[in-house]
């Protein structure tokens, strides 16, 4: 995943990629040859069957559903792109683009807060002498709680009437900061981003910690010996070496943020309160699929699922290939 192993000191000095590691001679089994194909097939089959049943089949059935008309759970006939036209037309289209915009804002905010802080914590904890283990565990702990529970707890803490957050702010005289966090359209989405980051910050931190552990300390030490400040050494030496890890974190964050549902649902309800200012694609899908008295709901919801998949898959693939090119240039 994080391919820092390819970067050998020799390669770095020469400004080119290190030669690929020498291939080990194929291990010889007792039988002296590769097992026949059907033996291999038997080993692969269980995983392949699970993958087909739970990933490939639902994907294709969603695509198929989206091309049909529906009466409840009864398919009525091929309607072509009608469900997609419904999805992008009139007020439905407006809501789709608005939700998409909120997802992108959610991703941008998360990258800014969660990824940056995750990296900062990883770098700082690497140096920490005492309490490193404890802090690592503490940061990762919220990860273990369901987003629905996290959302519920935070909506209690942020409640204007019962919430601890505003009570504390008022108690220390910061009345001006006691805001309707989840009730103001300008604050609701940023609040969600912060709560989400509070829960998931341990994830980028762990990935960056692993990536940092894979970096030989010599580079940074060499830079420091040459007189670079700690900040310059980090910015010009360590950070470029972390690009592969940053790429992985970005893509995974993107996928997670595009599909976010539970936290928003728990904190802002199924309509993305207030006034739709936190409506995201996941909520739109939830409403289209489960809150929709239209007998054609399954077709419309499947069309939305297909569109979301194309968004997420397309952008992830594009991002990955761009990142690959960056990595290649760094090598």
């Amino acid at each position: 995943m994080v391919r820092t192993d390819r970067l050998s000191p020799a390669g770095l000095r020469a400004g080119r990629a290190a030669p690929p590691p020498r291939r080990r001679p194929a291990r010889r089994g007792g039988a002296g040859h590769r097992p026949p194909w059907w033996v291999l097939a038997v080993f692969v089959l269980p995983a392949l069957a699970l993958y087909t049943v739970f990933i490939v089949y639902p994907l294709f059935s969603a695509l198929q559903y989206s091309l049909f008309g529906w009466q409840g759970t009864r398919q009525t006939g091929l309607v072509g792109l009608e469900n997609f036209r419904h999805l992008f037309g009139g007020i439905y289209g407006e809501r789709l683009w608005r939700a998409f915009g909120h997802n992108l804002a959610f991703f941008a905010g998360t990258m800014l807060v969660q990824t940056t802080l995750g990296l900062a914590f990883a770098v700082l904890l690497r140096r920490a002498r005492a309490g490193r283990r404890f802090l690592q565990t503490a940061y990762v702990l919220p990860h273990l709680v369901s987003p629905i529970v996290v959302g519920y707890l935070w909506s209690l803490m942020l409640s204007p009437q019962f919430g601890a957050v505003n009570a504390v702010l008022r108690a220390v005289g910061l009345d001006a900061l006691a805001q309707p966090w989840t009730g103001d359209p300008a604050l609701a989405l940023p609040t969600l981003i912060l709560v989400n980051a509070w829960q998931w910050i341990g994830f980028p931190m762990l990935l960056f910690t692993a990536a940092l552990a894979g970096l030989p300390p010599e580079y940074e030490e060499a830079a420091r010996v040459d007189g670079a400040s700690a900040w310059r050494a980090f910015w010009h030496v360590t950070l470029p070496l972390l690009v592969p890890a940053i790429g992985v974190v970005s893509v995974l964050t993107f996928v997670g943020n595009m599909n976010v549902l539970d936290l928003v649902y728990a904190m802002q309800g199924s309509q993305g309160a207030p006034g739709g200012s936190t409506d995201v694609l996941g909520l739109l899908f939830y409403r289209t699929a489960f809150n929709n008295p239209d007998p054609g709901a399954i077709g419309q919801a499947s069309a939305l699922a297909v569109v979301m998949f194309v968004f997420v898959f397309g952008i992830s693939i594009a991002a990955t290939s761009v990142l690959r090119r960056w990595e290649a240039r760094l090598r």
Binding site: P46, G72, A273
Partner: protein, 433 residues
């Protein structure tokens, strides 16, 4: 070569064990549910509901039916309200092991099950001729006009108040709008929130508008005009009713758009808010959360410049019981819903559950509920957004609640709100006129 053969036998054996396990697994699944029949030809009917809190009450209600129908056992299974629509959708698709009798949400949500032919038409089985049509409409197919359920409960909207707080501040249930706002003023000056409501949840705001603003817009007559295409939601009387409600903002909880439904309930049950504009369905949860709370009830007085100058009690059927078309025990299931249309069921329902029974002529046991129902019979009006405008997405109540939230936030005028509601509802609604 012998090693290879050994490997081959081992792989084959493993594969065989795997296949056997898979077969055993799939064979197990249906055998846990033998279609609800045990050795003696006895039948177990499974009833699905979105009200798990009613389980004990239903056990006692169904005992009467079981006594009358030896060999039939009725099993009540409650699911989380928010999960129920999805669970029901799957349950009705199952070829076996699904429910026999199901609670159906009223009006809009039932239509897709009817379209999929998953419910048994009941016109020839159950006679509801004596029932008010606006109640029976909750269980009718919108396209075919046929009956697919027996309505069980009925809800009214009004203002519940904390009697102790009212007495403490020398207040009486108001009979005019001015008395009501003066009472709200008094309460606010004493640091009591006058009205608890949830600005975060659009459906709660829609209930608030209907409760407080129905008189201003003209109640059921306005809805009929819209249905006939003679006016729409940009009508000045309707938008003025939105303004009436938004003008109550000073008397609502602070930062009301951040207040969720359960927060609003808690504000009332904890005594921090004195009044709760809402439905009769709140009384049971209020009694559970605060058993000592003395609750009174009044209809919202006519709003300033109201089209209808007497109070209105909005009401709606809350749901119905229908029969799963895939049920292996259709005859017994139909007999059960038939029984649910009788006075015997209505009385048991009224006694066991703190709700208003839909069966005509059966008074709820609870005095407050009896008062609410009496008021509805005297000057009732259909809760417009549920009864007429819940047949498409966005639901009328959500469109209205969202627009009202924007007004409370100061982001839009009542004219803009009305235009937006009209635009969103017309995405699926067409007047018949």
């Amino acid at each position: 070569m012998s090693v290879s053969r050994h490997l081959r036998t081992r792989v084959l054996r493993a594969a065989a064990v795997g296949v056997a396990l898979a077969l055993a697994g799939s064979a197990c699944a249906p055998s846990t549910d033998g279609g609800g029949e045990d050795g003696d030809g006895d039948v177990t009917l499974t009833v699905w509901s979105w009200r798990p809190e009613d389980a004990e009450g239903y056990e006692r209600i169904f005992a009467a039916f079981e006594e009358r129908n030896p060999g039939v056992t009725v099993e009540f299974r409650g699911y989380q309200n928010s999960e129920y629509p999805a669970i029901l959708q799957t349950g009705l698709t199952q070829s076996s092991g699904g429910p026999d009798v199901v609670q159906l949400k009223p009006f809009g949500p039932i239509q897709s099950f009817i379209g999929a032919e998953q419910l048994v038409p009941l016109d020839d089985e159950v006679d509801l001729a004596a029932w008010p049509e606006e109640i029976v409409a909750a269980a009718r197919g919108r396209d075919d006009g046929r009956l697919y359920g027996v309505p069980f409960a009925f809800q009214t909207l009004g203002v519940m108040y904390n009697e102790e707080l009212f007495a403490e501040h020398g207040l009486e249930p108001p009979t005019t709008w001015q008395e009501m706002t003066e009472a709200a003023e008094t309460l606010r000056d004493a640091d009591v929130i006058p009205f608890a409501t949830a600005g975060r949840d659009p459906w709660v705001l829609a209930i608030l508008r209907e409760t407080m603003g129905a008189t201003r817009a003209g109640g059921g007559e306005f809805a009929e005009e819209v249905l006939a295409g003679r006016t729409d939601f940009t009508d000045p009387d309707y938008t003025a009713s939105l303004r009436t409600v938004a003008d109550l903002e000073p008397y609502l909880p602070e930062d009301v758009t951040a207040v969720g439904y359960t927060d609003a309930q808690t504000l009332f049950t904890s005594g921090r808010a004195a009044m709760y504009p809402g439905g009769s369905y709140e009384l049971a949860p209020f009694a559970t959360a605060a058993p000592d709370l003395e609750i009174g009830y009044f209809d919202a007085p006519p709003a300033p410049d109201a089209v209808v100058d007497t109070p209105l009690t909005p009401g709606f059927a809350d749901g119905s019981y229908g029969v799963n078309a895939a049920s292996p025990h259709r005859a017994e299931a139909v007999a059960l819903v038939e029984w649910m249309a009788t006075e015997e069921f209505g009385r048991a329902f009224a006694e066991e559950l703190r709700q208003i029974p839909a069966v005509p002529g059966v008074a709820p046991a609870d005095p407050l509920l009896a008062e609410m129902r009496g008021n509805y019979e005297e000057h009732g009006t259909p809760y417009m957004m549920s009864v007429y405008f819940g047949y498409g997405e966005p639901l009328g109540r959500d469109a209205e609640g969202q627009a009202l939230a924007d007004m409370l936030l100061g982001r839009s005028t009542e004219e803009e709100a009305g235009a937006r509601i009209q635009r969103e509802i017309s995405a699926w609604f067409e007047p018949t006129g």
